[in-house]
């Protein structure tokens, strides 16, 4: 067999990689375009601001928008402080040991559990055992558990990326460990931590299985944390699964996709804006 010249081999490899990259981007673009094509024509001001009529066949998705914001917003508000605190503990307050390995391993295991299992756990624990019922609060707590590992690991990465010298400088100028962590390390790591939190928010918004079993699927506008609420993702699932209205399902999906896109773009923009370039 004749050997390829290095030049030809190089060209082949590059074109293969190009095609693979194009396939990745192309798939994403295709999915988004497909959904927006079917959904956007039905997204009107009324659709965004009115309550659903006859199970969502007509009317809008306003309660779902509010419910999604409440459930995923609360989930992140609960998970972010715990996650960041865990990351600070792992990186600044303890040195590598069996305990940190166990915590990290636990976080990684949590990250790998399918969301329906979180839903099942939330249903049994929050909804039934703690008596919260199908509610915004049950859903938010369940989602908080689900995104916690992401927040821990991204915060940890961000904190580790802060140069070790900053810590020595801070100590050298007479700061306590707490002052060093809050004024130097967290401040420098904040863009990375924030990005992780925003990505977690995106994940909470798009979650379906876990909220179905914990936040329920009520169509009304939730007025308190103990009301059941249907999120956008779940609404989309029910509309299409039960054949209620495909056009409204696509419209809901469009709203969902656009809000997540906007969130991700915002997160990346913020990261580039805030992270200081190396000298």
């Amino acid at each position: 067999m004749r050997r390829l010249s290095p030049r030809t081999a190089q060209q082949i490899v590059v074109s293969i990689m190009w095609m693979l990259a194009a396939a990745t981007v192309g798939t994403l673009v295709f999915i988004i375009a497909f959904i927006l094509f079917h959904g956007l024509p039905h997204v009107t001001w009324e659709f965004l601001t009115q309550s659903p009529v006859s199970m969502g066949r007509k009317g809008g998705i306003f309660p779902m928008i509010v419910g999604t914001a409440m459930v995923s917003g609360l989930a992140v508000i609960i998970a972010a402080p715990i996650g960041v605190a865990t990351a600070v503990y792992l990186t600044e307050y303890t040195r590598e040991s069996r305990i940190t390995a166990v915590i990290r391993f636990g976080a990684d295991c949590l990250a790998g559990i399918p969301s329906i299992i979180f839903g099942l756990f939330g249903f049994v624990f929050f909804t039934i055992t703690l008596g919260m019922g199908l509610s915004v609060l049950s859903g938010a707590l369940t989602l908080a558990l689900m995104v916690l590992p992401t927040i821990v690991r991204t915060s940890e990465e961000a904190i580790r990326a802060v140069p070790y010298a900053y810590r020595e400088v801070s100590y050298g100028l007479g700061s306590t460990r707490w002052q060093m962590v809050t004024r130097v390390v967290l401040q420098s790591a904040m863009p990375g931590i924030f990005t992780g939190i925003v990505l977690s928010l995106g994940r909470s918004i798009s979650e379906t299985a876990a909220v179905m079993l914990t936040a329920g699927s009520a169509l009304g506008l939730p007025s308190s944390l103990f009301d059941s609420s249907r999120t956008l993702a779940l609404h989309f699932y029910i509309l299409s699964r039960e054949g209620v209205s495909m056009s409204n399902a696509y419209a809901t999906a469009s709203v969902l996709i656009i809000s997540i896109l906007v969130l991700n773009v915002f997160a990346y923009w913020l990261m580039h804006k805030l992270v200081r370039k190396p000298r």
Partner: protein
């Protein structure tokens, strides 16, 4: 322990032995640092110079494998006493590192960081500290119009003078310098050396340097470290002209190191 000389000394190091993970890096060190003097510490790589410096302000504590025996007295009080206020100790013994590391803020924020930690909030007092310390570090003229710009925009030499000024803003009693000019251009080096000479009107300086010429230019006394031991210490003139120890002579004349 009550000889007059010992009462006069600002810092007294007694029988200091340092181990990292059980391995000795400093052995049985005895050294005094007097008020208003500039002591240079020279010696080849891994002779324990930096370790010694980091014992004084207890930065070695950050390494969990660190252990020590012996005593380090600042104004007669052991810095390793359990009741010592660590943050306060590090304010009294300011440190400048080999690599300039401005924190990722403005020049002004870098300078007031330490004083603010110490509880100084008064704007006029902070401004006064900023101006005075920048002047002492020979950096005022270059930065007075851009105090609120990022410190990372400064050149390497300016950054190092900023790090010196940042420490001076705390009005330290002892200044620890760990090869502060190792990566700097000659002009910045000269400015830092000038600053050091003037600074000893109000404080003591311990200067670790790989540059024997710098030691001879700047210091009153010079200590020679080798393999974790203090070989000899004496007036700089004498160490550089007729040292008592032949290893010192060999090092200074460039036969090893």
């Amino acid at each position: 322990m009550t000889e007059p000389a010992e009462i006069r000394a600002k810092v007294q190091v007694r029988d200091l032995t340092v181990r990292f993970a059980g391995k000795e890096t400093l052995r049985n060190l005895n050294l005094d640092i007097y008020p208003n003097e500039r002591l240079a510490i020279i010696g080849p790589a891994s002779s324990g110079k930096t370790t010694f410096l980091r014992c004084l302000n207890r930065l070695n504590d950050l390494q969990h494998t660190f252990s020590h025996t012996g005593r380090i007295l600042l104004d007669g009080k052991d810095v390793y006493d359990p009741d010592v206020d660590l943050a306060g100790l590090r304010r009294r013994m300011g440190m400048v590192y080999a690599v300039p590391e401005p924190l990722p803020w403005t020049i002004y924020e870098n300078l007031v960081f330490g004083p603010r930690l110490a509880g100084f909030r008064d704007k006029d007092d902070l401004d006064e500290r900023v101006e005075r310390s920048l002047k002492s570090a020979y950096l005022w003229e270059e930065t007075k119009d851009r105090l609120h710009q990022p410190a990372h925009n400064l050149s390497g030499g300016q950054q190092q003078r900023l790090c010196l000024a940042r420490v001076l803003a705390l009005k330290p009693e002892v200044l620890l310098l760990d090869e502060p000019c190792s990566g700097l251009d000659p002009i910045s080096t000269a400015k830092i050396e000038d600053a050091l000479v003037e600074l000893t009107e109000s404080l003591s300086i311990i200067l670790v340097t790989n540059n024997t010429k710098q030691a001879s230019r700047v210091s009153d006394r010079t200590a020679f470290f080798l393999m974790g031991e203090l070989i000899e210490v004496g007036p700089t003139q004498q160490i550089f002209t007729k040292p008592n120890h032949e290893r010192t002579d060999a090092y200074i004349t460039g036969q090893f190191g």
